[in-house]
Symmetry: C2
C-alpha cells in the first residue's frame, strides 16, 4: 500500500470535535476526540474510537457509560483544553462549569450547544483504539441554531 | 429521553460524504454514505455504518471488502447520484468513469480526489445499520489540495 496515499486519503475524512467525559465513583476522565459517528437510528447508536492507552479509556471500561459534549464552531480553545489531563474540582472540569449527566453522572460542559449520554453495548478492541458501539440514553440541546466545529477548519488532524 | 434533544444533538455531529462501492462476481453495489470514521492507526482501521436492508449491505456481506471514494466540496451532485440504485456498464458507474479497485475490484470513481479500499475485520449487527470495522488495504490520492465535502453544507441530514 502507498503510505502517502493512505495518510492523505484518510485525512480527507471530515470530522467534528467532541469532549467525551466519564465518571466512576470519584474518578473523572475527559478528552477531546473526533472519531465519532452515529451508527443506527433504532436503537439510537453511535460508534466512537477511544485511544486504548488513555485514562478516558480506563474509566469508560469500568463504567460502561460516557457523555459527549458537542463543540460549537467558536470553541476551538475549549477543544484544546481537553488535549491535556483534566482536573475536576466541585463541578468545574479543567475550570469549565459542568452539570452532572442525568443518566451517567459524567460532567457535561454547560457552555456547549448540545450533548448526549450513552451506554456501551459493545467494545471492539482490534486496533490501537477501542471502538465503542453505544446506545444514546439521554440528550439535550441548548442552542438549536449552533454550527458545530468542523475539525478541518481548526488546522488540526487526527487520522491518516 | 427527550426525543427532540436526541434528534438535534445527534444532528450536530459533523460528517463528510463518501461513495461506497462493492463488487462480487458480476454484482456491483454503490451508495452515498456519511457514517464513516477512522478507528485505529495501527492497524489502519475505519468504522462504517451501512443500512442493513440495502443492496450495498448484501454485496459487502458476501464480498467482505469494499471501496470508499471521497467527495470534494464541489461534488454535491455526484453524492446525489448515488442516493438512487446504480447501474454498472463497462466501467461506467451510473454514468461516471471508474477504475477497478486494485485490491477489491470495486469501482472507484475517477473524478473524486481520494479513495481507499478496505477488508472487513468485524461486522456488528445490533442496530438498523451494520457497523463494519475494516482495515485499509489500499489507498490513493489524486488531489492533495482538495477540500472534502462537509455534509452540513449540503443542507442534508442523515442522523438524529
Amino acid at each position: 500500500m502507498d503510505a502517502e496515499g493512505k495518510k492523505h486519503s484518510l485525512r480527507m475524512i471530515n470530522y467534528g470535535l467532541y469532549i467525551v467525559t466519564a465518571k466512576e465513583n470519584n474518578e473523572v476522565a475527559a478528552g477531546t476526540i473526533n472519531w465519532l459517528s452515529q451508527a443506527s437510528f433504532t436503537p439510537p447508536l453511535v460508534m466512537v474510537g477511544i485511544k486504548a492507552d488513555s485514562h478516558l479509556h480506563t474509566v469508560i471500561q469500568h463504567r460502561g457509560q460516557f457523555a459527549v459534549s458537542i463543540l460549537d464552531q467558536s470553541q476551538k480553545a475549549l477543544a484544546q483544553d481537553f488535549f491535556r489531563p483534566s482536573t475536576y474540582d466541585g463541578l468545574l472540569l479543567s475550570g469549565h462549569a459542568t452539570d452532572p449527566g442525568p443518566t451517567t453522572g459524567a460532567p457535561i460542559l454547560k457552555e456547549t450547544p448540545g450533548w448526549f449520554e450513552v451506554e456501551v453495548r459493545q467494545a471492539i478492541s482490534i486496533g490501537d483504539h477501542t471502538v465503542y458501539i453505544a446506545e444514546v440514553v439521554d440528550a439535550g440541546v441548548r442552542d438549536k441554531a449552533a454550527i458545530p466545529l468542523v475539525m478541518r477548519e481548526t488546522g488540526w488532524f487526527y487520522g491518516g
